[in-house]
Structures are given as structure tokens and as C-alpha cells.
Symmetry: none
Subunit: 204 residues, 4 copies
Amino acid sequence: MQRTKPDTARRSETSRRAILTAALDLVGEVGYAKLSIEGIAARAGVGKQTIYRWWPSKGAVLFDAVLAGAEDEGGETALPDTGDLEADLKTVLRATVDGLNDPAQDRLLRALSVEIVQDPQLAVLYAERLDGPMKEAKKARLRAAQEAGQLPADLDLDVAVEMIWSPLTARWLHRTGPLTHAYADAVVEAALNGLRRGLPDGSR
Amino acid sequence: MQRTKPDTARRSETSRRAILTAALDLVGEVGYAKLSIEGIAARAGVGKQTIYRWWPSKGAVLFDAVLAGAEDEGGETALPDTGDLEADLKTVLRATVDGLNDPAQDRLLRALSVEIVQDPQLAVLYAERLDGPMKEAKKARLRAAQEAGQLPADLDLDVAVEMIWSPLTARWLHRTGPLTHAYADAVVEAALNGLRRGLPDGSR
Amino acid sequence: MQRTKPDTARRSETSRRAILTAALDLVGEVGYAKLSIEGIAARAGVGKQTIYRWWPSKGAVLFDAVLAGAEDEGGETALPDTGDLEADLKTVLRATVDGLNDPAQDRLLRALSVEIVQDPQLAVLYAERLDGPMKEAKKARLRAAQEAGQLPADLDLDVAVEMIWSPLTARWLHRTGPLTHAYADAVVEAALNGLRRGLPDGSR
Amino acid sequence: MQRTKPDTARRSETSRRAILTAALDLVGEVGYAKLSIEGIAARAGVGKQTIYRWWPSKGAVLFDAVLAGAEDEGGETALPDTGDLEADLKTVLRATVDGLNDPAQDRLLRALSVEIVQDPQLAVLYAERLDGPMKEAKKARLRAAQEAGQLPADLDLDVAVEMIWSPLTARWLHRTGPLTHAYADAVVEAALNGLRRGLPDGSR
DNA sequence: AGTTAAGCGAGACGGTACGTCCGGTCTTGAA
DNA sequence: TTCAAGACCGGACGTACCGTCTCGCTTAACT
């Protein structure tokens, strides 16, 4: 799937970066609801047409901005592997909790989320470019655990990843509860052991 | 917390209902992004001012509309209890899957979700008025299972509810995968048994 | 012709006066263009309906306000008569010039004028109640001059009055020139003597 | 003095003409009181912003429309000169009377008048662009009469013009009497000969 | 003297128009 | 051809008033 026009040689890299930077800055300053294409163009010192020429919507601009930021940080996003799956997962989820508690990151991710929720095309793009690589890294860590005999060999890794991460993101998105390290730990334990953990099989 | 003006005796019940109905209808027809206060007013045969007089934003109108709809259906929202927890949960989650696969309901719930994600005040209202009662019903079912010895007595029910429901809503919201009955079943099983299920304790 | 409802015994004199006073005050403060019925009602501490019950338009309110003011000053409005017509007319026109140069009176009279220009019914009312008595006084002075042999006996007094006063009011209304005592004098002289004054009859 | 933004090369001449035409049409159809910017925009097939971009008020639009109309007709506005001043003036004033008795023209000129009365800036513009040229033509005719010895050489032409024309416009504006050819004639005669005409100098 | 209907303050209501913001398209002139 | 600039048509915003319509209340007039 291709949402944006293929880059041509004529495209101004200067303008492109200015637009993405302006979008990122503005979303952090005024929030997504008040973000406008005109505002981005003005802030970037760019004609509106230059935005419309290369992106189909403000969501796409924002998406590209986040994408560019993510890629700048380097594609390597492997999860830690100390051999202790539970500890490693807690480490990662605690870091996620910290990130979501940072106001700037919170605003940006909410903006992105709103776009994805509303726009199926962006959702696909998100699945391919942002969530995909991340999910691969998560699954790789779980696969390693499988190979070490710490998880069943027939475990559906997609479901497993969602079991571990979605309680956190759901609570964050809808603000249905506090986001703490304790909560991250509780989720990891519950996901790994199951809600029935410790009960004799016969009682189930 | 009070988002809307307190009702006075002077308020027109006719107009109120017309507005809520129009909002609900329109969001199902054109989606939330194209929902406008003007559109609601026109559809409801009402002056714009009558909306602005009683609600601070279109999100608040929509929220009230959903709320009124939920309350009309009667407060009874108890989950089924056949004694078989796993089967009951699967029944409920399959029904949820079906609901989310209905375009009109999908549009409505996405609209609501977008508002909640963006507006902390609405999020509080949501937690109190819509999500709260639902969550209580879910916890009640789990508590019954605890009392029947099917779940550990010290289980944190808030976490438990999130473990069961959030994978579904997360996958729906961000469209990260297909929403099927099979998926609902897989989530219930994984949540109850844990990702490590069946492994000897020593290998963990 | 009757523009306003006939007064009944039940009518509140307090409210009536409050409304007229508020209208007069507001027109002086914010100008006629920004004068609103709601504004008058609020300022007068009166319900809107009380205005609509007794007056058909804001122009009618203003008109009544001016009328009440005029009648308060006493109906006697005879022009001075020293026996010297030209001098007397100059005295009166100079006073008119002074009045029109007063900002408050200027604003009020412009407001009244705008209403009369736009609303034929108000124009009739104006002719009967405000302009009429004034014009009678003017004609009375001219009639006295006729009787003294200072003006032709067959002079059309309506035309005469307009010849004398309309240059002044026209210049004021459209601001086509400065309003000064010298101008008042020039008009009186030109009106009395004619533009051809002093030329031998044969040359005409 | 400049009321409207200076035209740039970018301005759409098509839109400009459509707006002025629509304004003129509408004022003739519904009258000035019911003339609205939205109405003009809709009739002209133009965005409201395009009006607000170039004119500060509906009065300014109307003014420009009248101005454009006047300039379209060609600058030639000389008064007739048969050598007989009185006859020529009567011809012109009778034509004016006829014009003012035409409902469409009446509505348009009243609208213009109301704006001028209320807005000093428009009054200046009016004096410069519309009334000015007309007044010059009138003064030119009177000057010709002066040169022919039919009027005193020291006559103040500004006052003279006002003496002749303002009775007519005043009576029209405030509807204080019928506008007829006879009235036009009477005014011309009175203005030229003076109210005292025919009286021996000694009696004055 | 008690009843009753009007006038009253208040303000909600369906509307119209305001003047502004922004979306997305189109045009101009410089590089 | 791209770009900055910005005019253009259009749609929605949130506000101000319009003129109508209840609501209770006060208050004068007529039982």
C-alpha cells in the first residue's frame, strides 16, 4: 500500500523536513484537535500546496513525522533478553509506562491513535510501518522463550503479544486507571500465569 | 463532575430528545468526522443555540446520546452465569465481536472512543457513567467464579477484566487484526490459563 | 394612524419610562446601528415581551423616546419674532447648527433620521407628531412676515420653509460641508433674496 | 482616503463584478434592510470570505456597486444648457423627481443614503466619488449662467447648488410631501427669485 | 374580600446572519 | 516543475439578536 506520492528528484528535502518538524512541534503545543494544515504550512514557511502535493491528510503528515522520528532513532528495537522472560517483559512494560506518562509523548501518541482509529488507510500504514516492526521484536522475544522451553511451542504469538501489551495501552487510551510500574508487573504476571493460576486443575 | 449545564424546569424535553436522536442517527450515517453541530441542529429541527445552551461540544452531545440510549435499554446488564465461566466469557466476547463488526455500531463506538481519547473530562464521565456499570457487571461475574472456587480468591478483578476485554477492544480500535469468534475464544483461553499454560512449573 | 397599541390601564408606566430612557441612553452610547431590543430590555430591566407588546420595532421605541423628550420640554416652540424676519431666521438656524454640532444630539437625530428614511410608517408618524408642530411654528413666523408685508401674500409657505431649512439638514445628514453660523446666514440670505438677487429684471 | 484594500494583481475580476451586480440586484429586490452579505455571496456564487477580503461592510459593497454603475454610464454628466437657466433647471429637477419616484431607484438611493448618514467614512467617499462629480456639473451650469450675466458674479455656487437641490432630496428622504413636477418647478422659481420676490426693496 | 385575568421579568426556543477559520483547489511569478 | 504565496468557493464554527412562546409572579378590577 502506498499512501504518499512516490518521491521525485524534484522534491525539496528542506520543505519536507520543515513540514514534519512543524507538525510535530505544533501537535505538542496546541494538541491534535487544533492542528491545521494551514498552521503547519505557516509554521514551516511553506505553501499549503506543498503539503497537499505530498500528503493526503494531516493524519498522514503526522504519521510520517512520527515515522521519521522513529527511523532516526535507528531501526534496531530488539527487546532485552536476559533469559528471564518475566523480568524482561516487566522491564519493557515499565519503560512503556514511563513513556506514556510523559506529557509530550502522551499528546503525540494520542494524536496518532485518533488518526488510526478514524482512518482505515492510516491504520494499515500504521500496522505496516510502525506497529509491525515493533510487534516483530516482541514476537522474537517470545519465540526465544519458546525455544528455551519457557512457553508452549504451539502458542499463538500474535495473541500472546496482545495479551501482554493491550491492557496497558487500553488503560492509557481511555484513562480507565492509573498507569504505574505495579500495574505493569501485575499485567505481566497475569498474562503469563493466567487468571486461574495456582488452582488445582480439578477445580476448574 | 458535571459537563453539561444543570437542567432547569424550562428545558424542552422534546428538543433534547430530538437532538440526541439526530446525533445518534447522523454519526451512524456519516461517521464522526463529518458530524457537525449544524447538521445535528438541522436534522433535529432545532436552533444551534439550543445545542450550545446545554452542551459544551459535539462530543458531549454524542456522549449524552449514547448514555441515554444505554439507560433506555434498562440498567440490567448482568453477564450470563451458567456456572461455566469460560463458556460464559466466550459467549459475551463473541457477542461483543458481532457488535463491533456491525458498521453502525462500529462508527458510533469509534466516535465515542475518539472523544474519550482526546478529552480527559469526557473520559472521566465515561468511566463513571458508561464503562463503570459495565465493568461492575463483569467483575460481578468474576466474583461469582471466585466464590465458586474457579478463580483465586486474591485475584485483582480490575486487572482480570482488563486482561479479558482489552485485547479485543485494542485489536478493534487500531484494526491490527481480524475480529472473529475464534479470536474471542483464543483470548478467553489465554487469559484464563496464561501464556505458559500446561508447562511444568519447574520449567518456568 | 396608530403605530402602537392603545394604552390600557394595566400598562406599567415604570416599565414604559425605563424602556424609553434606556433606548435614549443606549443610542447615545453605542450608536443606532448597535442598538438592539435585547440591549434595551436588559438595560431597562424589562422582559423583551414588554417591549414587543407595546412597540412594533426598535425604530418605534426610539421615536417614542424622542417624542416623549420633546413633549417634556413643553409644546411651546414658537419662533422668535422681533419684526426683523431675516435676523430672526438667522438666530434660529444658528441655534439649529449648534444643536447638530453636539455629538449626542447628532447621534440621536441621525438614528431617528435613518429610521424615517427606511420606514414609511414611521415617516408618517414623524410628519404628524414631530416635524408637523415644528413646521407649523415656522410657517406661523413666515405668516406674520406676510402680514407685515415683508413676504408676498401668495407665497407657498410649505415650499418656503423647505427652502430655508433643507439646505442645512441636507448638508448635515450627508456631511457634504461644514455646518457653521456663516453658512446658516448665507442660506437665509439666499433663500430670501433668491440666487438672482440684485440683478436687473431685464437681464434675467 | 481608501476604504477598501488596494487591489492586487491576484484579485478575481469575475468575482468582483458578480458581487457588485448581486448587491445591486438584491437591494432593488428586497431593500437594504434585508440585504445581507450572505445573500450577496450566495447570489454571486462566491465565498463570503471573498467579500470580507475586499470590503469592510455591506455599505462599502453597495457603495462600490453604485460607483461602478455610475462610472459604467460614462463620466459625461453635464447638465443641459439651452441658455434658459430656469427652464434647464426645471428639466433636470423634473427628471430627478421621476427617478426618485421609480421604486427600484428609490430603494437603492435610500440604502445608499442610510449608509452615508451612519458612516462618516463612507460619507467622505460619497462626497469625493459620487456627489462631487455631480456637484461639479451643477456648478458648471450655474457658472455658465454667471458668465451670461444671468446670475450675480459673486454668487457662492456651493450654497446655490444646495438651495436648488436640497429641498427636493429632503422632501424625498423624509417623505414630508409629494414629489411632483409642479414641486420641482416651484423650488426652482423660489430659489432663483427668492422668497421675497417681487416686493419693493423698501418694504423689506 | 376573593377571584381572575392582564401585565410583567425572565429566558428558552427556532431561526437568520454575523464575521472567522480552515479545507482543498487553483493561479501567479520566481528560481 | 517545484515552490511560497495567497485568492478562491465552500462549509462549519460559535455568537448575537430576532420575534414568538411559555413559565410563575404580581397586581389591579370585577365579581
